[in-house]
């Protein structure tokens, strides 16, 4: 009888070598993204650093004299946008998530709403701009104001907030709720004092990520008519405005090299706001996952 050995040719050495090659190429590919990120940041920094100064933050943009241009109007426009978006999108988003997760029965309407939100999350931001143009600028006669811009951006980030909040609420174990109901609490009381606090870190992470998305968007704001050259700071929600991403876009679009440098400097400021925000959100998520009591 032939020994079994002859029938199998396991070629272990070859499989091992191929396995090693595969591992290292996967690792290398993973680092490509990180590598590009590093090149991008270094590039932007080198380009923009010469123009960066405190005056840069305090001056208005200038078309004629790039040396004295600044991002004051864009910076304040962005701040106004964040403030209004925070006030509008966050409560509505969390409230929607609370309803869908804690109150709604699992029926066709709820599933339809859920599907709807998932689809909205995938709609391009410029389509939200078109909606904002028709709804806020024209129909509600808000004009090209910072309020119209903020409302448009709120609609854009609402699905993100809702989805993140729903996940955070769903992650709270049922035993929390049962314990409260068992003591005679109403549903709202249970949610407010037991479930929401437990889900808060996840919700906050989602809100921060949503807001950082809002800060970076230019397309919807261009759609509603935010101007690219604005030399004043909005004094009220109905004033015209511009925002950081729009200013960056405008400066990139010009042929003169000095404006490109200004764009890079503005990017540094923008990333200086966004990267810490993202880092805080990611760190909070990691911290929450580690210390989860359940």
């Amino acid at each position: 009888m032939t020994p079994r050995e002859d029938l199998y040719q396991p070629r272990l050495r070859r499989r091992r070598v191929v396995g090693r090659l595969f591992t290292w190429s996967c690792a290398a590919m993973s680092l490509i993204g990180v590598g590009v990120l590093a090149v991008l940041i270094v590039r932007v920094f080198l380009d923009g650093y010469p123009s960066l100064s405190l005056d840069f933050l305090r001056r208005f943009p200038s078309v004629l004299m790039p040396e004295t241009a600044g991002i004051k109007s864009a910076l304040w426009g962005t701040l106004w946008l964040i403030a209004i978006t925070l006030l509008v999108a966050v409560p509505v988003g969390i409230a929607s998530a609370v309803y869908l997760e804690e109150y709604a029965a699992d029926n066709r309407l709820t599933r339809f709403i859920h599907l709807n939100i998932a689809n909205l999350a995938g709609v391009p931001s410029i389509v939200y701009g078109i909606l904002g143009l028709a709804l806020f600028v024209r129909w509600l006669h808000l004009g090209r104001s910072v309020l119209a811009g903020a409302l448009t951006v709120s609609l854009l980030v609402l699905p993100v907030i809702i989805i993140a909040s729903r996940e955070a609420l769903a992650a709270v174990p049922d035993s929390f709720r049962q314990a409260a109901y068992g003591l005679g609490a109403t549903r709202w009381l249970t949610v407010r004092s037991h479930v929401l606090p437990a889900a808060l870190p996840g919700i906050v992470t989602g809100v921060i990520l949503a807001l950082s998305r809002a800060i970076g968007e230019a397309a919807p704001l261009i759609m509603i008519g935010a101007l690219t050259y604005v030399a004043f700071v909005p004094a009220g929600p109905l004033d015209d405005f511009t925002a950081m991403p729009i200013q960056i876009y405008d400066w990139c679009d010009r042929p003169q090299h000095e404006f490109h440098q200004l764009a890079a400097a503005a990017i540094i400021v923008l990333l200086g706001i966004l990267l810490p925000m993202n880092a805080v959100a990611v760190a909070m998520r990691a911290w929450h996952n580690r210390r989860k009591v359940w």
Partner: protein, 286 residues
Amino acid sequence: MVMVTDSTSAMPIGPFVGPLPIPAADRTDSAASRSGGPENVIQTRDLSISYGRFRAVRDVTLDFKANCVTAIIGPSGCGKSTLLRAINRMNDFVPDCSAVGSLLYRGRDVYAPECDPVELRRRIGMVFQKPNPFPKSIYRNVAWAARINGYRGDLEELVERSLRQAALWEEVRDKLNQSAYALSGGQQQRLCIARAVALQPDVLLMDEPCSALDPIATARIEDLIHELKERYTVVLVTHNMQQAARVSDRTAFLLMGDLVEAEATDVIFTRPNDKRTQDYITGRFG
């Protein structure tokens, strides 16, 4: 810093130093027939296995004889599965697991640096508690391991042979291209057995193979084990004492990581030496 944890690649390339010993069934002159008794295929000597600081298996010295069914019984959490998984080094995938002592397969230390776990698992196959067929067709499930290991013979013949050995051939012969998931639980488990024997291993480890199955499927697999021991050495972990009594030739009783007693099955179940064995068998504790 070790960047990549890959237990199989941490070992040097290559099988055991020197060719692996040929299993008894293939030798033209079997050592068993020469020496007049079954040889020890697997031996442990003072084997202790720990997860971190918790010792799950403590100083176990045990022999597993060729073409025998050896059952390992004991209450939940006593270390039976840990011991079983140490034999084909499946414990390598548990991050904190470490082993002290020796575990010999045909005289060679399984935990020695020159032992390649992948090569080892070709000789020592395993069937798990819950059937885990691949989401592929029945044919491809059985043929998978043979293909990967460069089987040069007739694959269809191998698949048929393996399915016959697992007593599944008649039921699936005309639907080999169907998904394995269309089979019942008992059939899936027999498919997993067929998959394991397709590699023509030396030893078959079975980790509570019937615990997820109904009594009828269980009975079929127990009959199967009787047939399997003609060709393979079988180590069976079970929490069902009656199953051990029905199926095995030798039984080892593990309690809290310690080997209390290991004897021929009829001896253990009728005149055990240790009082703890007696208590367990009579149901004093479970």
